[in-house]
Structures are given as structure tokens and as C-alpha cells.
Amino acid sequence: MINKVANIINEMLEETGQDKVENFDPSMSLRDELNLDSLMLAELTVRLEDEFGVDIFEDGVVRTLGEVIAKLEGK
């Protein structure tokens, strides 16, 4: 699962001409470590919903990559 999400984030980065991230870790903060601003988070949530049918922000709070994966896995 982490690889699928990593691929989506890297695709977003590539399209905007930014460097891809090499190593993803579940503890990584979306905003502070992956540098996703509100617009990128909005884009990520739409892309993930298209792919997995899950709205990761449905009930509020997602801060880290690990929390995203937990939502997608329905935990």
C-alpha cells in the first residue's frame, strides 16, 4: 500500500517538475516532511479517492503518511 501511495505522490511531484521522494516512511508528516500544501493535499485526496474509493479526510484528521494508509486500509 505504501508503494501505491508513494507512486501517486511522486507522480504529482513529477508533473509539477519537482524532485521525486526516494524513501517513504509511514511516520513522515504530509505537510512538514513531504512539503504538501493545502492544494497538494486536496489533489492527493482526490487522486486517492479515484484509485481506492476512500476519502481520507472524510472524518477529519490525517497528518502522516501512516495515517493515510490506515484510512485506505479501513483501520
Binding site: V46, R47, V61
Partner: protein
């Protein structure tokens, strides 16, 4: 006078500093175009213009050359500056406020998304900008978290509300969003005014804590999101929540508790709905613009509403021609007219995609020419967008399609 006027990143500016800077400012410019939208430069210029009674035009600091050209602003005119002929010396904030209230010759123009696909200029008087500013002892100790772009109407509303009460503004926008918790504690912030998007994004950084100092939270700039109200009440146990309807065209008009808006008695008779349930506003409530079209004396907001009784109404949907990205209104036509110039793009339609982070984002369906690589073309479109459009006007997700569906009247279908 040692009271703080503005906290911006590491900088604290007192009212005394502000007055000294105003006294020292001997030149002025018609255009306020501040590269990083630095709120202090913008606020200082606005107050200076009110003191010396010259009209100003506020431009977003991230407008590209093309966007400036589109709205008819000559780039060389941006740096034109003139000297003040008779310098005033202000010694006291109340004197400054008195001078500001003599403002017949002053006006402030700003730009908003127009229906024709290019931004339109709207010119406000002091009265139309400060219609809903409240002053008095009750408001004198307010400390504001500032969470809007200072060049936009909602930011200006907070600025005037704060200035007229000699309050403190603490900038909590953009890169300061994740720092809101510290700012509330350090400055004892009492009021926050922001978009639903801002609250949704700041919530993860306020988790597990209670902040007693916050008395009032205002939603503005975007459709109100009732799903966050309970969460905010848990984090801010002393808070009252209000929802404001303001527009660049009219300034602030209505206030609501929850979703039920009230037409204040001061503007009763100046608001009505037409047979399509669209909200109409009388032209006397609007700023001035050459781009307004009126139905008689009425301006059609394009917002669909339902009246509950004579003075209460609810919004059913906001103007469907516009897409609201986290509080920024975008006309998809403007984006299409720009991106059609990218080599390899044959046709495109820009649409909205709903989400819980920014309300809506832009996505584009693109018909591409033969022999263009998908990823390379996506990169070119986004790169061209970044050069010619403000960030929130760039489609985030691009899909390639064989054709763009059109309605019977030939309009692109944006659904």
C-alpha cells in the same frame, strides 16, 4: 501606543512603529503590488492612502505579467511613485482615526473573477468597505488571527475591523498555518476569521488541546462547512461561531448563525430573489465597476437561495459559473483561455472536483495533438500555468480525452 498593530512571522509592529512609518513615508503609489503580499507593506500603504486621500488599486503580489496585461495594468506604471506635497505629522492614533474618517475622495479598487473570463475591477468607497465594521468598548481588546490573503476582500474586512478598534492582528496564513497553536498561546488571540478550508487544514495542528482565549470564530470567503463546527467547539470551549457572506462586488452583507442568514434591517429592501431563486443585490450596495451587468437596478449574484421568512434565508448553492478553491473564486473560462495556448493542447475543459481539504480543486480534460507524450504534456501544461496563472487557478489533475462534450447550445459541459 505600545500596543501591537501586527505580528508577521518574526516581526512585531506596534502602533507607535506604524505611526512613525506613516510619518516617514514621503512618497506614494497608485498601485499596491507587493511581491510576497507582505501584509505590513499593504496595510501601511492603505492607511497612508486614507490619510492623504488618494485612490489606490490593490493587486495580488503573485499576478504574472500576463495576468497584469489581461486586467489592463501597464507594468511600468506599477513602480510610478509621487511625492507628498504637504507632509502631515501624526502624533496619536486617535488623530489618525479622525483623519481616516474624512475620506470622501478616497477609493480602493481590487480585482475579482469576472464572468467573461477576465478579472474585473471593482472600486469601493470607505463606506462600502466598512459597512459592517463594529466599534466600541466591546471590541477594543480583540486580538485577531489573520487568515486571508491581505489583498482580497475578506482580508480587508478583518483589517478594517481591527484597525478601527486599535486591535492587534496576528498573521496566521500560508506558512504560519501550522504555527497557529503557538500564536494563540503567545498573543492570547480572541478572534479568528477564515475560510472553511483554513479551519479544516489547521485542525490537525490543534488536536488534543483546549484554547480558552478564543471567543469568536468567523467563517467567510467560501461556503460554510457545518461538519467542522462541533470540532471547533471542542477545541475552543468559549467560542461563538458566525458565518459571513461577503463578496468582492459588495463587501460584507449578511451574517448567519449556522446556515440561516439574516438580512440586516439596514439593507432590507435592497436584497431580493428572482423567479429562479437567484439572490439579487441592489446596485446601491455595490462598489463601482464597468464590468457589472444589471437587471434594472439589481445585480445577480448567481447564488441560489431559499427564503425561510421575510428576513431569513439559506444558500442552496453558490454561483455555478465560478469554482471556489479554498476561498479563491476561479472562472474556469479564464483558465481554459490561458491553457489553450500550450503547444499540444487542442481543446480543454476545466471543471471542479469536490474534496474535504479545499472544498473544490480544478481538474482539466484535455484533447491533445498526436505525438505528444502524456507526462511531458502534463508537465508543459502545469509549467505554463505556473508562469501565467495564480497558483490556485492551475488544474491539479489532467486527463486526456478524445473529445470535450458540448451542450446543445455549444457550451462545454463542466460536469
Amino acid at each position: 501606543m505600545n500596543k501591537i498593530f501586527l505580528v508577521y512571522k518574526q516581526m512585531e509592529v506596534t502602533y507607535e512603529n506604524l505611526i512613525n512609518d506613516i510619518n516617514a513615508k514621503e512618497t506614494y503609489q497608485h498601485y499596491i503590488f507587493v511581491n510576497d503580499n507582505n501584509p505590513y507593506s499593504i496595510f501601511l500603504s492603505i492607511i497612508h492612502s486614507l490619510l492623504y486621500k488618494y485612490p489606490i488599486e490593490i493587486l495580488d503580489g503573485d499576478f504574472s505579467d500576463i495576468e497584469l496585461e489581461e486586467i489592463g495594468v501597464n507594468k511600468t506604471a506599477l513602480s510610478d511613485s509621487k511625492s507628498i506635497e504637504r507632509l502631515l505629522t501624526i502624533n496619536d492614533f486617535n488623530v489618525l482615526l479622525d483623519k481616516i474618517s474624512e475620506n470622501e475622495d478616497w477609493s480602493l479598487s481590487l480585482y475579482t473573477s469576472g464572468t467573461t473570463g477576465r478579472p474585473k475591477k471593482v472600486t469601493h468607497t470607505f463606506q462600502s468597505l466598512t459597512r459592517n465594521v463594529k466599534t466600541g468598548d466591546k471590541f477594543s481588546d480583540n486580538i485577531w488571527a489573520f487568515a486571508y490573503n491581505p489583498t482580497h476582500i475578506a482580508g480587508l474586512q478583518v483589517f478594517f475591523q481591527s484597525l478601527m478598534n486599535q486591535n492587534t492582528i496576528v498573521y496566521a496564513f500560508n506558512d504560519q498555518l501550522t504555527n497557529l497553536s503557538n500564536l494563540i498561546e503567545e498573543y492570547n488571540i480572541t478572534n479568528i476569521s477564515a475560510t472553511s478550508t483554513y479551519y479544516r487544514n489547521v485542525l490537525p495542528y490543534l488536536k488534543d488541546r483546549e484554547y480558552d482565549s478564543i471567543k469568536r470564530i468567523t467563517f467567510g470567503g467560501e461556503k460554510y462547512d457545518p461538519s467542522i463546527e462541533d470540532k471547533l467547539k471542542t477545541i475552543f470551549p468559549n467560542v461563538k461561531i458566525r458565518n459571513i457572506y461577503a463578496s468582492t462586488e459588495a463587501g460584507s452583507l449578511f451574517v448567519a448563525k449556522g446556515e440561516k442568514f439574516i438580512v440586516p434591517h439596514t439593507i432590507k429592501g435592497l436584497v431580493k430573489i428572482n423567479e429562479n431563486n437567484e439572490l439579487l443585490i441592489h446596485q446601491s450596495l455595490l462598489g463601482k465597476s464597468n464590468s457589472f451587468t444589471f437587471e434594472g437596478n439589481w445585480f445577480n449574484t448567481g447564488d441560489l437561495v431559499e427564503f425561510i421568512d421575510n428576513i431569513h434565508f439559506k444558500f442552496i448553492s453558490r454561483n455555478s459559473d465560478m469554482i471556489n478553491v479554498g476561498g479563491y473564486k476561479v472562472n474556469p473560462l479564464e483558465v481554459e483561455n490561458t491553457l489553450i495556448n500550450v503547444e499540444g493542447v487542442i481543446d480543454l475543459v476545466v471543471k471542479s472536483k469536490k474534496n474535504k481539504v479545499t472544498g473544490e480543486i480544478l481538474v482539466a480534460d484535455v484533447v491533445k495533438g498526436d505525438n505528444y507524450n502524456d507526462m511531458e504534456l502534463k508537465k508543459s501544461i502545469k509549467q505554463y500555468g505556473a508562469k501565467h496563472l495564480q497558483e490556485w487557478k492551475i488544474p491539479r489533475i489532467i486527463k486526456f480525452v478524445n473529445e470535450i462534450p458540448k451542450s446543445r447550445t455549444g457550451k462545454k459541459v463542466r460536469k
